[in-house]
């Protein structure tokens, strides 16, 4: 058979699924490893039967039902990743089982909403994308140094970043103008790297003027609106 490690792993899924099926047939409510094995097994066998990716996903979603599960299991059956062999090759299927079971092991309960404290020194800037492709900017990027094809009052954004949730981003579609809010960068306000326009302490005397001059020389201001 020349089975690879990955193929041998299929047999572990099969073994557990066989056990889970026998237990389910006796009317036993399923726990987490049992339920995961049945979902995985259903996806793999649907692929083996020549079904499509969408059909295999559906097979995984319907492999079990809430009334076959122990309390609290349903919520743990999100993001079940299975690699199955389809007719066009090996494919990844990720099954997010939907449950109506209110019990959730490890549940986080927040009774009071968190609020992001307002930051001082915020400015609003209109940004136009002159390029043919979409440009996206993430939260903490030094806005002064973003893609030169974005046209805006660049000097006004010196030492600023987007005032959105950390890890988020703003999309600037081609040819469109988007207004964003920016806030000052905090900490020691030292910017190293990026486009090399600053490469030092933001607030050092003459630094801003030098950065604007570099920006102009390197073409960052040529498309300024």
């Amino acid at each position: 058979m020349e089975l690879t490690p990955s193929e041998q792993d299929r047999l572990l899924i099969f073994n557990v699924a066989q056990l889970a099926q026998a237990r389910r047939a006796r009317g036993v409510k399923l726990n987490k490893p049992e339920a995961v094995s049945l979902i995985s097994h259903a996806v793999i066998e649907a692929a083996r039967d020549g079904n499509t990716h969408a059909q295999a996903l559906q097979a995984g979603l319907t492999a079990i039902s809430d009334n076959e599960l122990l309390p609290g299991i349903g919520s743990m059956l999100r993001g079940i990743a299975v690699e199955a062999v389809f007719d066009d090759g090996r494919r990844l299927v990720v099954v997010d089982y939907e449950t109506s079971d209110p019990q959730v092991p490890g549940q986080v309960t927040r009774l009071e909403p968190i609020s992001q404290p307002a930051k001082s020194g915020a400015v609003m800037i209109s940004v136009h994308n002159n390029s043919m492709i979409q440009i996206s900017v993430t939260t903490h990027m030094h806005f002064f140094e973003v893609n030169p094809h974005l046209s805006f009052d660049r000097p006004a954004t010196y030492g600023m970043h987007l005032d959105i949730k950390a890890g988020g981003h703003v999309d600037f579609p081609s040819g469109e103008t988007v207004t964003v809010q920016l806030v000052p960068i905090t900490g020691d306000r030292v910017l190293i790297g990026f486009a090399g326009l600053v490469d030092g302490p933001l607030d050092e005397p003459g630094m801003k003027e030098r950065a604007i001059e570099r920006a102009r020389t390197l073409g960052y201001l040529s498309e300024q609106s």
Partner: protein, 563 residues
């Protein structure tokens, strides 16, 4: 909260995990903790990944590891007996915890404690719980596979009494101990070995000391006689090593009162103090609650259940070389099994009297069950919480103190009892970065990652040929830190100050302060008092208070997760 706030909160929790003030249920238990602090700044949370802010010059500072960290575990919910329950980041340098607090780049963010370098390894901790690695002080390594099982359950240190399918209860041969250090080098697991204290003279003790043991085990199977106890404790006092004690269960030479008298106020670690695991029948539990006697439990009696008594008779006969055909052997086994002391033991844990849990692996306990049983036991005493908003957040009575007390039992307190706390036992700056990362949903039952000396050494691995790391079947097993000579480098061998020489690459660390440690110093414990077990073994009191507890039909953390 209105509907919009609820949706936004759920999204925020999915991205950033719990925050200060949030309630987190641990696994499927009744235990709910409230996050006491969050070292992040809202709006400046760092995260690694596509479009995130842990990038060069932004969240990462373009400096070498010397000026930042080798490894950073970001924004993880720390549950630590010393540190409390807080969201923080853990910075690691050269295998040790170097910084704890807010992670990021001080050039662009305020209040950074953990500098993330542009080259730092980042382990995202959002949505995970970090504890110190579990310490199991009572392991019979009757099979090498016990090490695999220990690591797979979140245990990173074992104090063992042998290394082979022989009943050692301590090993003394220097020749054998030299081999043992090399054998144990195969696992990224801290190991200390106990010598056998069957010494009416000190010659066998001296040899074991030279061979590098970290303590001694007195066991009735090889003699827990008055002379043995006294000789061993005297020797231990001279050399600063711990002594573990399994007392004379037959009351052949002495009863519990005489054992206490022979110990004479010296520090000793009383194993399986409830008594099913052995020791004075029926009243060995009276050893607990005393300042110089550091009491621990083994895990089968914890989370006291309806089948506990029946299991133990069979276990005793099987573990101790007895014959089920011999009525006298069966009777001896039955005498060790008492529902009342099991019930009382569980109560004494919740009260903070018994400070340590352990396994008694392959010798009447399960090496991979200590985290699980410790927290299943904690859950027995927790009330259900009302978290639907009908009770104000500030009025919800949470289990923070109970959870920290139970974490202490399997981390810092065993470290203190065996003189290991200068290296391990909690998440503190300067200690080895031995960490266990747990999903909130399977806390104390199934870990996600075991970090040994700062490197992932064990944990969940998936289909090796897959496009992603998390494809089924997910198994708990070795990570890269368990391979090559790295396994040997990532762990320490706990030994003593008089060990003459050592073989192998593994760093030797002498245990410390084992003779001055007292029950009153146990973290989140230290409650002392007189325990009485009546001669029938059916009534247990603590300071005159009758301790009872109904056995439970079902334990948490168990059926939900175990095949």
């Amino acid at each position: 909260m209105n509907k919009q706030e609820l949706i936004e909160s759920q999204q925020d929790i999915a991205v950033h995990g719990a925050r200060k003030g949030d309630f987190v249920r641990l696994g499927d238990t009744a235990l709910v903790v409230r996050v006491e602090a969050d070292d992040r700044e809202i709006g400046n949370e760092v995260q690694i990944g596509f479009g995130k802010n842990l990038r060069d010059g932004i969240g990462m500072r373009s400096v070498s590891s010397n000026d930042s960290c080798d490894v950073v575990v970001t924004n993880v919910l720390i549950i630590d007996a010393v540190l409390g329950i807080r969201v923080s980041s853990i910075g690691i340098r050269n295998g040790r915890i170097a910084a704890i607090g807010r992670a990021g780049n001080p050039d662009t963010m305020d209040g950074i404690d953990v500098v993330v370098g542009s080259g730092s390894i980042v382990i995202p901790g959002e949505g995970l719980i970090a504890t110190a690695g579990g310490i199991d002080t009572h392991v019979h390594a009757m099979s090498p596979r016990v090490c695999d099982a220990a690591l797979s359950s979140g245990v990173t240190t074992i104090i063992t009494q042998e290394f082979g399918p022989f009943w050692g209860v301590g090993v003394n041969s220097k020749w054998a101990l030299d081999h043992a250090r090399n054998m144990y080098g195969a696992w990224p697991l801290n190991v200390g070995i106990l010598g056998r204290a069957a010494g009416s003279s000190t010659a066998p003790l001296q040899e074991a000391l030279a061979g590098g043991v970290c303590g001694f085990k007195i066991h009735e199977d090889t003699g827990a006689h008055p002379r043995t106890i006294d000789t061993t404790l005297k020797f231990a006092d001279e050399h600063d090593v711990a002594v573990a004690l399994h007392t004379d269960g037959l009351n052949e030479m002495l009863s519990v009162a005489e054992t206490i008298k022979v110990i004479a106020g010296r520090a000793v670690h009383a194993f399986h103090v409830e008594g099913c695991g052995g020791g004075h029948s029926p009243d060995v539990l009276q050893l607990a609650g005393r300042d110089n006697i550091l009491a621990s439990s083994t895990n089968p009696t914890l989370a006291y259940g309806v089948n506990a008594a029946d299991e133990h008779v069979a276990m005793i006969i099987s573990a101790h070389g007895m014959n089920p055909e011999l009525p006298s052997d069966v009777q001896m086994a039955r005498n060790r099994v008492r529902n009342a002391t099991m019930a009382a033991e569980n109560r004494l844990h919740d009260m903070g009297v018994i400070p340590v849990t352990s396994s008694d692996a392959l010798g009447m306990g399960r090496v991979d069950d200590t985290w699980r049983k410790t927290f299943a036991m904690a859950s027995m005493f927790a009330d259900e919480k009302i978290l639907d908003g009908s009770v104000a957040a500030s009025d919800v009575v949470t289990d923070n103190e109970r959870v920290l007390r139970h974490v202490a039992k399997i981390t810092i307190n065993p470290a203190l009892v065996h003189g290991l706390s200068h290296e391990i036992g909690s998440i503190q700056i300067g200690l080895l970065a031995d960490l266990v990362l747990w999903p909130y949903s399977s806390f104390a039952s199934k870990p996600n990652m075991i970090i040994k000396n700062g490197l992932p050494a064990w944990g969940v691995v998936g289909d090796p040929g897959a496009t992603v790391t998390n494809a089924q079947p997910l198994l708990i097993g070795p990570q890269f830190g368990a391979f090559g000579v790295t396994a040997e480098d990532l762990a320490v061998q706990f030994t003593n100050n008089s060990a003459t020489d050592s073989t192998g690459r593994r760093r030797n660390v002498a245990v410390r302060n084992t003779r001055t440690i007292r029950s009153s110093q146990m973290i989140r414990h230290g409650i002392l008092g007189e325990i009485q077990v009546d001669p029938t073994g059916h009534v247990v009191t603590f300071e005159g208070q009758h301790l009872t507890q109904e056995p439970q039909n079902a334990a948490t953390l168990t059926r939900t997760f175990l095949l």
